[in-house]
């Protein structure tokens, strides 16, 4: 089995890609996907530690995260569809109605 660092580096990489995606991409769908990426980077770290520590706790958390992520994706996509219908765009830079 590969050493712990390898798994964590992959996880950190995935997370960073997700962060960059959230910060730089303008398409809201891509932003949501980037968030999923970050969540799954966290999941990877959890299962890694669960494996190396011989404990089921981390795996348990992963299931929670997946459940929450599914719900979040459903709600997020529903919102995006409504936004698109109303505004005909999913560009997050153009969605700034709350600003004065």
């Amino acid at each position: 089995m590969a050493p712990l660092e390898h798994y964590l580096i992959v996880s950190a990489l995935l997370f960073s890609i997700g962060v960059v995606g959230v910060v730089v991409r303008r398409n809201a769908i891509v932003v949501v996907m980037s968030i999923e990426l970050m969540l799954n980077a966290g999941n990877l770290a959890f299962v890694t530690f669960a494996r190396f520590l011989d404990s089921m706790d981390g795996q348990l958390v992963v299931f929670f995260v997946m459940g929450v992520a599914a719900a979040e994706a459903a709600v997020g996509l529903a919102i995006l569809i409504l936004v698109y219908r109303n505004r005909e765009t999913t560009d997050v830079d153009e969605l700034k109605l709350l600003r004065l």
Binding site: V19, V22, V23, V24, V31, V92, D93, L95, K96, R99
Partner: protein, 637 residues
Amino acid sequence: MMNILAIILLLPLAGVLLNFLFGWRRGEKFAGWVAVAVMALAFAASVAGFVQLLGLPPTERLLRVDLFKWIAIGKFEVNAGLMLDPLSSLMTLVVTGVGTLIHIYSIGYMHGDRSVVRYFIYLNLFVFFMLTLVLGSNLLVLFVGWEGVGLCSYLLIGFWFERPAASEAGKKAFIVNRIGDFCFLIALFMIVGIFGTLDFAAILQSAPGKLTVGGSAVTAICLLLFAGATGKSAQIPLFVWLPDAMEGPTPVSALIHAATMVTAGVYLMARMYFLFDLAPVATNIIAIIGAATLLLAATIATVQTDIKRVLAYSTVSQLGYMVMAVGVGAYSAAIFHLMTHAFFKALLFMGAGSVIHALKGEQNMNRMGGLSAALPATSLTCTVGGVAIAGIFPLAGFFSKDAILFSAMTSERGGLGFWLAGATGALLTAFYIFRLLFKTFYGRCNLTMEEQRNLHESPASMTFPLKVLAVLSFVGGWVGIPLIPGVNIFDGFLAPVFGAAGETHHEVLFELAMMAVSFAIAILGIFLAHNLFVLNVKGSAGYVERFPGLYRLLFNKYYIDEIYDSLVVQPIRRVSVRLWRDFDDGMLDASVNGAGGFVTLAGDVVRKLQTGYVKSYAVMMLVGVFAILLYLTTGVK
């Protein structure tokens, strides 16, 4: 079986409720007759109470009832208590009797006014409070009535509130009375402090033990009570509201500002006579102020041209007589004059109202004259009233004024000065009232032909009360004929209330001489008025030209309103403006606005962070997360 006192009191209140609930829809006629009916019933109940009193032996003539316990704080208790003794019985009879007549008169006078229902509600409410005032068995109940009649006075003076002058006059009456009421309230506090009770009987019993004659406490209480009375009873220095109160409907002037409410101060002092007897300094001041008021007002009344204003100043002057009588200790005489004055002054006011009604609102006497032909009933009854107030034997005013003059001369607290003031006042009274009669009803008519053709006598609802009051003004004084022992029913009836203070010992010859003098004085006044305003009309104008300064001084009422304005109103106004600008605007508002301004400013700064770009939020969050991570992992502080 309900108590007779409660019935007297609650009848006018029932009228208020009936008219309040149904009067608006049923209209003028219903409202008027409901108001009159409850007044007539209240009068009948008052008579019943009076008869019940007469059935008791003289020293036990007192009916008391406690409706409910009102206030109980530790040992201090106040009941909502009523009592009927000879004094309050007399007042009740005057209030309900004259009040009923004035209500009947109002039906004719207010006919066609669009707020007539509101008028009758106020009028009944006034009577309710006035009865509370005279029937209360302790000072606090009296005070409730006192404030209530003040309120109704304000409402009725400003009844035609669309007219700026009327609403101004209402406010003036209310504010000026507030000064007196404030003093009255302090007197109440002092009485509670000293006696621990406000009940008349209890105070009467413990007064000699708890107060020393001429002590500072009793003097202060008496002066404060008197200050309250100067407000209600229109004495110097607070009389200025009464002439302006003539802006109200004329029956209101007759009821509130002649017959009943303005006598409340006199009633209060008569009710608390046992305190005044203990304060010689205070009573001296009271007598002096009464004398000064009666002279001041009588002189002003001699030159006024508005018929109601002449009567208003006459009222102030007659109230001065009553206050002087209280000051010299002649409480019975004061109440006697109060009663007769209620008759003839209500009569004169309503007569003036009848004239004003016939002339469609004209109040200037210079435009009247010779109205006796067109208004026979009014002019005849008014003449009776005028003769009565002038003090001509054997009408009511003669006996009551004589009683006051006699006491002013012979009482221990009186003196020649008071008698002279009263006698001069009597001369002026006869003069100004006959000036009014001559200028209004006799002599040449100054109306246009058109107006003369339209003259008409008032309806029966207005002339009937005039006739009744004319009879009362004629015979009302006969209950107080002095000289023959046992005939002076009035003093005898009030004797249980005032005790020895009510008795003056009469020396027949001296009394007769005094009567002759006061009669002669009245005749002289009438003679002068006749000379100036009938025989030699140009002569009166000549006097005005010869003494222009004096005339202007009197015509402008000694400039007292102007003096008060510059000494009291304007300084208070200036201080208020300063407080408003500097304190309210400058400090209170500024601090509140400053707090708001600070928040706005802070918001402006923080708002810059809120760009609306989701990405910038994400970056901020990221930076925050890294900062926290850094802190947790390295322990940087």
